[in-house]
Amino acid sequence: MPSKAYSGQNASWGLKIAAFAGLLFLHMPILIIFLYTLTPDETTYTFPLPGITFKWFGITLQRVDFWRAVTLSLQVAAIATVAALILGTLAAAAVYRSKFFGREAVSFLLVLPIALPGIVTGIALRTAIGSFDIDFSFWTIIIGHATFCVVVVYNNVLARFRRMQGSLIEASMDLGANSFQTFRYVVFPNIATALLAGGMLAFALSFDEVIVTTFTAGQQTTLPIWIFSQLSRPRDRPVTNVAAMFVMLITFLPIFFAQRISASSSDTDGETK
């Protein structure tokens, strides 16, 4: 459906060029990384590339530290996503089905971790964990990630609940289903794609998070932390290029599918970060 602002006219050339240039500016840098994975140059970022080689892919895949970082990031993202799915869905269900005092505050509280600068969340968690003498570990990373992943699931699921017809649940109950059956056969199929979309976004968010992680990780090196250490003190440039491309692809696919799912079920509310 065209929006009410849609004019149906043709834009002037000046506007078209400015809009296109803006879009190019947003996407061009990512392609540069892909290009640089092919450079034979080990010590600098010379352009034009002195040649083309595919050897860095093989070399990166043999690096133990790379695989360790990838595995850790995948594990963290998977567990943080599960936590976010549970907590986010519970909160969305509560806000959707009942009116209670402070209902507005729930959304506000959940969105706070992504509204405040990441460094505030990071340093707050680090100080708190430190004051309780808890060791920084795999689990402290997950505690940090879960705080900002919950809101993504919450937004997606709540938007879906609001478009679901309440009469469906009433009908199910009238026909004799108990609450668990109603959830299993009526509610769950309705929110399944929202859970999938929210879960994939949460996964992508967690997989490449670096700011909070620098504060909540101990000796563990997630893939983003590994890349970050290369940013300020570049040592393995070619391997970093390949790793960066890898992160891009792993986060791109879930985000792309989440966007498509959301677009096809037309709930564009709540997906913007």
Partner: protein, 301 residues
């Protein structure tokens, strides 16, 4: 069994509400708000300068230290950077948002919106890294500038002490470019949302009444889209204030707030000062939000 639990719960909606809301709220209150509150308390503690231990007594001396000239300079520098990034992002974002809202066909529009939101979600770190490649001394941008024969101009800009440095990849100017790039989508989306709400009939009415296209743009469209610009600026401004990855990767010895906080808590181990310094961006943001609310930005979010 399930039937009985189900009936039991059905008769007690309050209990169900607590069961649903309990776990997420417990988590957010205890872990998240608890940590934030703890951080606030730490900003009222101080560091014993000789032993390097934290003195757990109420004092305002740590806050006084954030107002020392060196730290004030950090706040000023960061705020100026945030303002510059915001202004440039508004300029780049507007044409694209305008095109998406008013001229793109519905099909193209879906793709453009995905094209704008994708970078929001995709790896922030990798996108910063990409600019490291682009801005490097021997990198693609230098090559391009050389091609245009503008090497002299670049050298002249880089020799300027306040924005320059040894290369674009290690200068405030390079940092500015990366900030503007990274937060751009946050500016496009609110402007586009605000523009969507300007009915086409209003624009037609304006031209029917004899306004030239530029006049219509200046007196009808721009004022109505302005709250969107302010809404976008909340993100670009706040995110620039708090970031430390970009200053650490591209900056020099001139610190930014996030970077200062990071080094105070890390190498210096001065958590109270780091905590007090984070209150800086929080205060600046509260003032900013109050102004933004008066300008009607919250309706455009």
């Amino acid at each position: 069994m399930f039937q009985r639990i189900s009936t039991y719960l059905y008769l007690r909606p309050k209990l169900v509400l607590w069961l649903l809301l309990g776990p997420p709220m417990l988590y957010m209150f205890v872990v998240y708000l608890g940590s934030l509150f703890n951080l606030l308390i730490y900003s009222f503690y101080s560091l014993e300068p000789f032993s390097g231990t934290i003195v757990r007594e109420f004092t305002l001396s740590t806050f006084a230290r954030t107002l020392e000239p060196a730290n004030l300079e950090i706040f000023t520098r960061t705020t100026l950077m945030a303002a510059a990034v915001t202004a440039v992002d508004a300029l780049i974002a507007f044409p694209l948002a305008y095109y998406i809202a008013r001229f793109a066909s519905p099909r193209l529009k879906t793709w453009l919106i995905i094209g704008v939101t994708m970078p929001l979600w995709s790896s922030y770190l990798v996108r910063v890294y990409a600019w490291k490649l682009i801005l490097a001394k021997e990198g693609i941008l230098s090559w391009f500038i050389n091609l245009l024969g503008l090497q002299g101009v670049l050298d002249w800009i880089l020799s300027n002490e306040s924005i320059g440095g040894s290369s674009l990849a290690l200068s405030p100017l390079g940092m500015f470019i990366v900030f503007a790039y990274i937060w751009l989508p946050y500016m496009i989306i609110p402007i586009q949302t605000a523009l969507e709400r300007v009915p086409h009939s209003l624009v037609e009415a304006s031209s029917d009444l004899g306004a030239k296209p530029l006049q219509t743009f200046g007196t009808v469209i721009l004022p109505l889209a302005f709250p969107g610009v302010v809404a976008g600026s909340i993100f670009t401004f706040s995110l620039t204030l708090g970031d430390f990855i970009i200053p650490l990767s591209l900056g020099n010895s001139k610190l930014f707030v996030g970077q200062a906080v990071y080094s105070y808590q890390g190498t210096a181990g001065d958590i109270p000062l780091a905590a007090a310094m984070t209150m800086g961006p929080v205060v600046i943001m509260i003032v900013y939000l109050l102004i933004a609310r008066r300008l009607g930005a919250f309706d455009a979010l």
